[in-house]
Each structure stands twice: as C-alpha cells, then as structure tokens.
Symmetry: C2
Subunit: 432 residues, 2 copies
C-alpha cells in the first residue's frame, strides 16, 4: 500500500487530545497512520512526500443534507416562500428531470463540493442510481437515499418504496465502502402516516437508518396538528420512526417537549442555516438541541435554496447566527462550529472513523492555503477557519486516501465536460 | 487619455434602465464612456482591448464602516460580548499600536479588500495619516475619519479633535480626489455631550459629514437613557448632530420613533450584519429603515469582529438574515442587497458618480470569474452574485480607471512585504 507523508504542515486535527499539530502526517492506503511534531521516519521510506508549506490541513467537511441534482435550479425562483417555491417552481421543473439531468446536476454539485473541501455528503433525491455512479466515479463519500414524495396512487407508492429499497440493496457499502445508504420518506407533509410506516419497516428490514425533512416551516407544523392532531415529532414517534437511528433535516420549529422527545432516541439533526434563512423558514433551536444532547451537524440543502454548497459558510452562519439571536456571544464558539462541520457531521451519518485527523481514521482531509491576508495574523487558526475562510481557500482534497483535487483541479472528473453538459440540461429543461 | 474597451463581457450595471448588458464597456482615463451591446468603434481605435470572456463585470463594492488596522487583531479575542471585547481585549492592545502598526494593519486590509472586490471603504481609526498614505499608494478610494474616544483630559480632548480636523485639512480631496474625509466622535458612550458638540461644530466649519457608532448594543442604549435621560437618536438630535449630513454605523437598537427621527434628516445607516451577529449585538431593523426612506449600506466593521472583509458575505448575510427573522422570503431580494453593497454604499458616503457602470461614472469596477460550478446555470447573475459568490471569485479590479488587481495579484502593493511586516507587528504587539 502507498505510504505518504506530509511535511511542514499545520494540522487542525479535531482530536481533542491533540488539537493543532505543526509537523507531519502520514497515511497508508486509505488510513491515517500518524500525526507527529517530529519526522517519524526518513523521508525516503515513503512513496510520496508532500510539502505542506503555507498549508493548513483539516478533516474534510461533511454536508449532512442536500439534493445535489438541484444545482440545475440554482437561481431559479429566489425570494419565495418554501411551499410556493416547492409547488410552483421546483416540483414542476423537477418532474421533467431525466436520468441524464440528475447525472450532470449531481456531478456539477460534486465538483463544487469537492473543490470546496466537502469530502462526504448526504444526498436525498430521485434516480439515485445516477447519483451513486457519480459518487463512485468522483471518489467522494456519499450517504445516499431515495427521497420519496407520496402524492401518487398506491401502486406508484409501492414502486417508489421498492425503488428506495433497491438503492440500498444495490449500493450500500459499495465503491470501497464510500457509499452508504438510508431510507427516506420525504416529509410528514408529503407522505401519509401509513406510507411512512412502510419506510420504517423497510429501514428495519434492510438495517439502514432513516432520513426525512421535519418541521422546516411553521406552516407544515400547523398543518400536521390540524390533520393528525399532533406536532411532527410526536407524529413520527408514534409511527415508530425513532425506533430506528435517524437524521432529521431542518427541525426548525421545535417546542421544549419535542426537543426532550428527540433527545430520548438515537436521532440526529442536520441544521441548514443558509437554506432556512433564505426560504424564511426560521432559525432552528440549535443551542437547545445541543444542550439536550442531540447531535447537530450542518447541511447546505440544495443549491436552489442556498445557493452555493460552501460548508465553510454554513459553519460561519451557525457560529454567527446563534450568537446574534440569543444575545450570547459565547453561543457556538468557533471550535464548536468546526466540530459540527467535520466530526459531528461524520458521526451524524454513522461514519465513525471519519472527521478527525487521528490514527486509524480514514484519510479524508483537505488543505487550505493560509498564505493569504484573511488568514493573518497567525493568531488563532480555528477562528480563521470558521470566521474567515471560504470554499475557495481549499487547494487539495483527499478522500479515502486518494487525492481528488490537486491545486484546485479535480483529478477524477472532467470539469469542463460536466459544465458543458450541465448547461445543455438546463437549456433543455427551461426550453431555451 | 488612455482609451480602453472590454469586449465579450457580461456587465451587471446597477443602472435600472439597463441592468444587464452582454457586450462592451469603454472607459477613458477614470471615466466610463459607454456600455454597448454592439462594438461601438473599431477595436484598433482603443489603446487597450481587454477580453471579458468568462467574466462578469460589476461596480466595485463599497464598504461603509470599518477600522482597517484592526486586522492585526483578527482572531484575537473571539466569542466575547462587545463591551468586554472592547475594554479587555481590543483597547489595551490598540493602545500599543505605533504608526508603523497602523500602516501595515491598514495595508493588509487594503490587500484583502481590493483582491475581494472592494473599491471604496470607510475607515475610522487613529494615526490616520498612515491610512491616507496607504490609500494614496494602493489606488483604492477611501473615506477617512479620525475616530475619537473622549476618555481623557480636556487638553487631550482638544489635541484629538485638532488631529481629527487636521486629517480633513491635509487630505480631503487628495490622491486625485480618491480620498474624502469625515469628522467622528467614536460614540455617544465614549464622548460627552459637550465633546460631541465640538465635533458637530468642526463638521460645520470644515464642511464635511459626520460619522459615529450608534446604538450598537442594548446595553449602551440603556446606559444612554440612564445617564442622559434619552435614547441615542434623540440625544444626538439635540446635540445638532443631524444638522450635518451623517452616516451612523450599526444602529441596531432603534424604536419606531427613532426611525422616524432619522428619516427626517440627511442621515444614512451602515448596516454591519456579520459584526453585529458575532458580537451578539443583535440584528438591525434594516427593512423598517429602508421603508422609512433611510439609505442603508453595508460595512464589514473590522476584521476583529467579522473576521474577514468580504463584502459579498455582507450582501448575502443582509439578504438572508432579514428574510429569516421576518418570516418574509421576499425581504431584501438579491437585487436590493447588491444595491446596498454598490450604488447605495457609494451614495451613502457622498460618492455620487461611483457605484454604477454608467456613462460619466468613475471607472471603479471589478471582474468576477463566472466559469465556475457555483455560477451555473446561467439562470440569474444577480442571484448568483448575492447568494453564491465570494471575495475569492474576483479576478481583476479597477479604481478610478487604474487596474489595481490583475488575475488576482495586487499591482500597486507589495503583498509579500506587507504580509511579512504585518506578522512582525503582530509578534511585537503580543510579545512573541
């Protein structure tokens, strides 16, 4: 197996016993084998020596909620309310998406994510076979799930559920283990209780976790109460949803009681601050969730409601927003935001050896060019990463020990071809 | 005078009669002479032809509140409340700043701002002679003001006020008109009423506008009421502050009545969303201010409370934040945020022919590399600029007709030397 050493680097490890190391990191195959202040072995004993001068290395970012193919809808219908935006703008055009569109929409998002330092992402969409193939080809890590909207006949519901199950059967653990899967009813407001129960069953049967949108808007919570007599958390609890490990996207509108319920189960929350602000959905109670012991990570949601896939921005937003609305400047300090974007994200999607630069962990990491004005003075690297960095500061990216981006160029994907095909897809979808 | 044409460009003009032009822009000396869809004259009649392929051109960004030299304190004391942060972290170390520190702190910020597309900035600080020289050398546009804190003896107060006036006398209109000036008591909580009155007088006497921090925190408003029996707006109104054209930084905590008062005068507000969130100061009532007819622009504040000087981020924050807290997804749409960051910013600091790509306007403009995943599809450029772009997407910058940044490199400043000297300043200030 290829043995690599990075010399002269600064390593932000996310390992609490050893947070910042100036020196060396070694990895062998897909696994980190050492983090050292002194050279651990002669350089000539390694197959590859990388000079880390002017670079800061950190674990790759983990984006725990999104819909990659929707990059095709970036800037298409901004400044609208969630339900209007979904029903009048997103859904009609998405209904026209072919497998080819999903392929190139996803590939473009993977290019953006990888170049911006995201090494693992959750994707909930349709035509997931295309997404899985894109993940396999790109070399990124993907936690994939067919998101099912239940507005259709019982027969179609069964077809869609089977499609969701087939993704798990075909792809779970594939691409050298880089692909994992989940089972996803889209949301309590798009799937009937009976139908949700069938997803819970499937999750038991296939032994994979559940993912869904929940309580993103006040309106959907009110409608849930009106229709089913209870708020979404109790509604899902009664359907057995939380009998399975699960990750909820958004969870913006929660009462204290609902937070207590979530804390009793193996439930994680993907906080999507940019998307929630843009759609005017509100601001999730992240500090209260974390206080109750709920694991909270970060997601961009799709480029249609964000509108980029820059996880540095989500970390920064999380760190800034919860200070501003609570009046507490110590809420979500920089280190906590960085944790949410890396190791907490990895743990949230059951990647238990990803998200830290630590011996035995997967070699999923990124390099940041810190030889720039906005990273000076060299006072506090963790602060600079959260409060000052952006996707564009990432120069190199490794996933599973493989270098996927070098000096800002994708090595596994043909970026020019992807951009070209993507534009053709958009033109066809919008009739240009 | 040098005649330049940009061909094959996309121009986001901020001129409502002609918002997006695909084609050509010409400028002569420091003035824009044309925006055309068709070639206006043979290319060989121009002294310089620039190929704008893959580039979007827009007016340079205008940062209407900051303290450039404080980049030396980036990451130094994060996650603290404003008053604690100022009194225990910022002020003690700032007391040690030499002219040399101010010079290199400012130059580093100018490097960051210019490379990130900011072509005009407000600077309120001390040792402003250094700042003025840095602006002159860099070629950027600066609206400069000596910010005076009145915690000192009457004699020292007079010295500081004279220093503030001397800046105006020495530098107003200098550097080919790129430098303008203002008069600034730091804030109502750091200057007594009598002392503020003397700044108002000086502003009349020298015929320049006033700038101050106002109502940034709830605590300072409460203290103003306790000490002077009124909230800051009425307090300043009674001191004749608003008898002069003025720009207020922050203005976070305002009642409806205070907004009405401000709207009656020639008062502008610099909204600093990133800084206000980070210091947990709160969220300014921007939508209400704009509705009342108050001109609102955007500022980064210093890198110590932001922590970068990326004006794209402030535009995005303004567009996202006010949607999220109001529940109205149409609040501050993309076009309005872009206006706040460009032409509204220029008008806010009395630059009446800056901030638009329009015939007769100053050639202050920037180029963005739109041949990137996060700018696709080519659905809506204004949306992409506000919701997806960052400082790092800027490739070229012109101010007053001069190219200051080409392909990401500063042409007027020695970036490597500035970074080196800046680090030495930081090390000395912090005793390393």
């Amino acid at each position: 197996m290829l043995r690599t050493i990075i010399k002269n680097g600064i390593f932000v490890t996310m390992d609490e016993s050893n947070p910042i190391v100036h020196g060396y990191m070694t990895f062998e195959g897909n696994t980190i084998t050492g983090i050292h202040e002194a050279l651990p072995a002669p350089l000539e004993t390694f197959d590859e020596v990388i000079d880390g001068k002017h670079r800061l290395y950190m674990p790759g970012l983990v984006n725990t909620h999104g819909h990659a193919a929707m990059s095709l809808l970036r800037g298409y219908g901004d400044d609208l309310a969630l339900q209007v935006w979904l029903q009048e703008k997103m859904w009609p055009i998405e209904a026209k998406f072919t497998a080819h569109d999903v392929r190139y929409g996803t590939l473009l998002s993977i290019v953006e994510m990888l170049k911006g330092g995201t090494t693992s992402f959750v994707d909930m969409y349709d035509q997931m076979n295309e997404v899985a193939q894109a993940v396999e080809q790109a070399g990124i890590r993907g936690c994939l799930t067919r998101g099912v909207i239940g507005f259709c006949s019982p027969d179609e519901q069964t077809i869609k559920l089977n499609d969701a199950k087939q993704l798990v059967k075909d792809w779970h653990g594939k691409a050298d283990g880089r692909i994992t899967t989940m089972i996803s009813p889209h949301a309590p407001y798009t799937c009937t209780p009976d139908y949700i129960s069938r997803f819970v069953e499937a999750s038991h049967e296939l032994n994979v976790p559940l993912h869904t949108h929940m309580s993103e808007t006040a309106r959907e919570v009110a409608e849930n109460v009106e229709q089913y007599g209870q708020r979404p958390v109790v509604h899902l609890e009664k359907l057995g949803f939380f009998s399975r490990p699960s990750i909820l996207a958004h969870a913006v509108h929660l009462t204290d009681e609902e937070i207590e319920v979530l804390a009793r189960y193996d439930v994680r929350v993907s906080h999507n601050p940019g998307s929630n602000l843009k759609l005017a959905s509100g601001i999730a109670r992240v500090v209260a969730l974390q206080k109750a012991g709920v694991l909270v990570s970060l997601g961009t949601d799709s480029a249609a409601s964000n509108n980029n896939l820059d996880m540095f921005e989500e970390m920064r937003l999380a760190a800034l927003l919860h200070k501003g609305i609570s009046g507490d400047p110590t809420a979500i300090p920089a280190a906590a935001a960085l944790k949410m974007g890396t190791i907490d994200g990895a743990n949230s999607i059951w990647l238990n050896n990803v998200g830290s630069l630590k011996v035995g962990y997967k070699a999923d990491f990124i390099a940041i060019d810190i030889d720039q004005a906005h990273f000076l003075p060299r006072s506090n690297y963790i602060s600079h990463l959260v409060y000052s960095a952006s996707a564009k500061d990432v120069t190199d990216v490794w996933v599973d020990g493989n270098c996927l981006v070098r000096a800002g160029k994708c090595l596994t994907l043909d970026e020019e071809k992807i951009k070209r095909e993507f534009e053709l897809c958009f033109d066809r979808l919008t009739g240009n």
